[in-house]
């Protein structure tokens, strides 16, 4: 069990920046997810926690103890890799046992520990197989078993589910969260998949270009985004962002006219509204446009409306149907409208 503190962490290779400035305090037993597009520095940050990379600047502490310069093998962490990284020449049993042998765990305990870990990930029937003889999901579970077998202080997971198909990913997600709660081990999880982040995390760290954009619980990140990057990254489909003009509480853009906004500011702003906070039809004059696309999925219908040159995505009722080019109106939930500075992208409150 461990608390992890990252203070002023930077990583650069020559002129290339990997991580610019990361400060975060990860609580004991917390499940924290680093979320961001590829190249945002999330994996590099994790590798620095693992001890596979040294930070160029800043301090990494675990339970108050400075970790800088301490080799990966001497940190009590276990890591699950995107490509599983199972040892191809060893059976699954030997793969799971490997960390026990390396860390000098008493030999008499090996068998019990290996079997317990394999049980936990439901892999007991495959222990004598080689990794090459397992399916993707089984390999992923074997990698997971290898990480949990010796109950480390910290779990690190680097996009562990990205090579699995959607159905398996969902099942593994539940399993990972269940195991983490059961073992109560501090977990750092890296992903570019916002669904994984929202479903797994106690707190999400959203990164872009080596910088933390926002840290918060999934609810905070969803309901209270700090800037347009976070707003546009979370949600599926993502939040609609429309540039327009704000004068005396009235926002206007081509096809959009919303009054009654309580922001004491005039000028160019970006308005954000989530597709699920819109109501189609009625006598609203907030958004007027033409139907651009209708995508029924069964449980919901995605409607795209063209207002001016801007495409606005809306979640409509599952029975909603329309023809292309038909005029349509949309009302926005006033409590769910976000305003951002058009220049900096920062939230205006």
């Amino acid at each position: 069990m461990a608390r992890i503190e990252l203070t002023g962490i930077q990583k650069r290779w020559g002129a290339i920046w990997g991580v610019r400035d990361v400060n975060i305090d990860i609580a004991d037993e917390e499940f924290i997810v680093f979320l961001g597009p590829s190249g945002c520095g999330k994996t590099t940050t994790m590798r620095m926690i693992a001890g596979l990379e040294d930070p160029s600047e800043g301090e990494i502490r675990m339970d108050g103890e400075l970790m800088n310069g301490i080799d990966a093998r001497d940190r009590d962490v276990a890591m699950v890799f995107q490509g599983y990284a199972l040892y191809p020449n060893m059976s699954i049993y030997e793969n799971i046992r490997f960390p026990l042998r390396m860390r000098g765990v008493d030999k008499a305990e090996h068998d019990t520990l290996v079997r317990r870990a394999a049980d936990l990930v439901e892999l007991s029937d495959y222990l004598d197989r080689k990794p090459g003889a397992l399916s993707g999901g089984q390999r992923q579970r074997a990698a997971l078993a290898r990480a949990i077998v010796r109950q480390p202080q910290v779990f690190l997971m680097d996009e562990p589910l990205s090579n699995l198909d959607a159905k398996l990913r969902q099942a593994m997600r539940v399993q990972i969260k269940h195991i983490q709660r059961q073992l109560r081990i501090t977990t750092v999880y890296v992903t570019h998949d916002q669904i994984e982040a929202m479903t797994l995390a106690d707190r999400i760290v959203i990164m872009q270009a080596g910088l933390i954009q926002q840290i918060g619980t999934p609810d905070e990140i969803y309901n209270d985004p700090a800037n347009t990057f976070v707003a546009g990254f979370i949600g599926s489909p993502p939040m609609n962002l429309v540039e327009g003009d704000l004068q005396d509480g009235r926002f206007t853009a081509p096809g959009i006219d919303i009054a009654g906004l309580t922001l004491p500011r005039n000028g160019k702003v970006t308005l954000g509204i989530r597709p699920e906070d819109c109501t189609v039809g009625g006598h609203s004059t907030q958004l007027k446009g033409d139907v651009y696309g209708v995508e029924p999925t069964g449980d919901i219908t995605y409607l795209t409306i063209k207002a001016g040159e801007k495409l606005i995505e809306v979640k409509a009722d599952r029975s909603y149907r329309s023809e292309l080019g038909v005029p349509e109106t949309v009302a926005f939930d006033p409590a769910r409208i976000y305003l951002f500075d058009s220049e900096t992208g920062q939230r205006l409150r």
Binding site: R47, A50, G51, L52, D71, A72, R73, R75, V77, A78, M79, F81, Q82, G83, Y84, A85, L86, Y87, P88, N89, M90, F98, P99, M102, R103, K130, P131, G132, A133, L134, G136, R139, R146, L156, N163
Partner: protein, 281 residues
């Protein structure tokens, strides 16, 4: 329709066997020819008219074992070759790992330097090597042959192994490191098993080069004490007995046998992709 397809598949299988059989015959013909020369009486070999049904004779066989210490030559060959391959592997594996995985100043230059030792004509270093071994008192010993073969082959053994190491996903080593393994452990337990096909390939090629090596062997082995098969072969080409073709053929065949047996024994490793299943598949 179905039977037609079955038929054509049978035909293509037949064709495949025919081609492979022809190729096998083409490759094996010289070996079989050597064997047939070696097992014929000497008089029959030097007659100008063709003989379609040769007679069988073990004259040459008896001669090479009784008149010459062929068993000792064979032992020398095997000892020098296997010894040199072991030396090569002991040196090349860590060198290749360093070239493949660590970053340090001059790494690529060192890699090129190692390869460049292979670029000069062997004759250039023949005289210095002779004096070197004379000065350390290793002339005319199998140990000297071992060292020379190892030196000749070290560069490409290193490069072959290095290229196999480069193909191993870095993630595998990162995983071993977070699992608590140090550099040597990783090399021994993860890297070497994963590149076994590469190690075997390099070893076999080194063996073939070593068994065919003639110049340095002749230079170093001045008496039968350190003669190998390749030099022994030369013994049959001169002297009062003239060219003893059937003995030459038989010795050449014997020289071919050890490497052939090694290759047969380990051929399944030569092409097997051991890294399969290591990462996403």
């Amino acid at each position: 329709m179905a039977s037609q397809r079955k038929n054509s598949r049978g035909e293509s299988l037949l064709l495949r066997y025919a081609i492979l059989g022809a190729w096998a015959l083409f490759c094996l013909a010289p070996v079989l020819w050597f064997l047939s020369i070696g097992l014929r009486p000497r008089t029959e070999i030097i007659t100008p008219q063709p003989i379609y049904w040769p007679s069988f004779s073990l004259d040459a066989w008896h001669m090479i074992w009784e008149d010459w210490p062929m068993a000792k030559y064979l032992r020398n060959s095997v000892a020098a070759i296997f010894g040199s391959v072991i030396i090569d592997l002991v040196l090349a594996i860590p060198a290749a790992y360093s070239l493949a995985r660590y970053t340090y100043r001059g790494r690529d230059d060192i890699g090129f330097y190692i390869l460049s030792t292979r670029m000069m004509a062997p004759a250039i270093v023949a005289i210095p090597i002779f004096f070197l071994f004379r000065n350390v008192g290793l002339l005319d010993t199998v140990w000297a042959l071992m060292l020379v073969y190892a030196a000749i082959n070290l560069s490409f053994v290193t490069w072959i192994i290095r290229s196999y190491m480069l193909d191993i996903p870095k993630e595998l080593e990162d995983a071993a490191r977070t699992d608590g393994a140090g550099d040597l452990r990783i090399l021994w337990e993860i890297i070497i098993p994963a590149i076994l096909p590469g190690i075997i390939t390099a070893s076999v090629i080194a063996m073939i080069f070593a068994i065919n090596e003639f110049l340095f062997t002749l230079l170093i082995a001045s008496t039968p004490k350190a003669y190998t098969m390749s030099v022994a072969l030369a013994n049959f080409t001169g002297g009062s007995d003239g060219l003893i073709y059937n003995a030459i053929a038989l010795v050449a065949f014997l020289a071919f046998v050890p490497v052939f047996l090694v290759v047969v024994a380990i051929q399944k490793h030569l092409s097997r992709g051991l890294t399969m299943g290591a990462v996403k598949g």
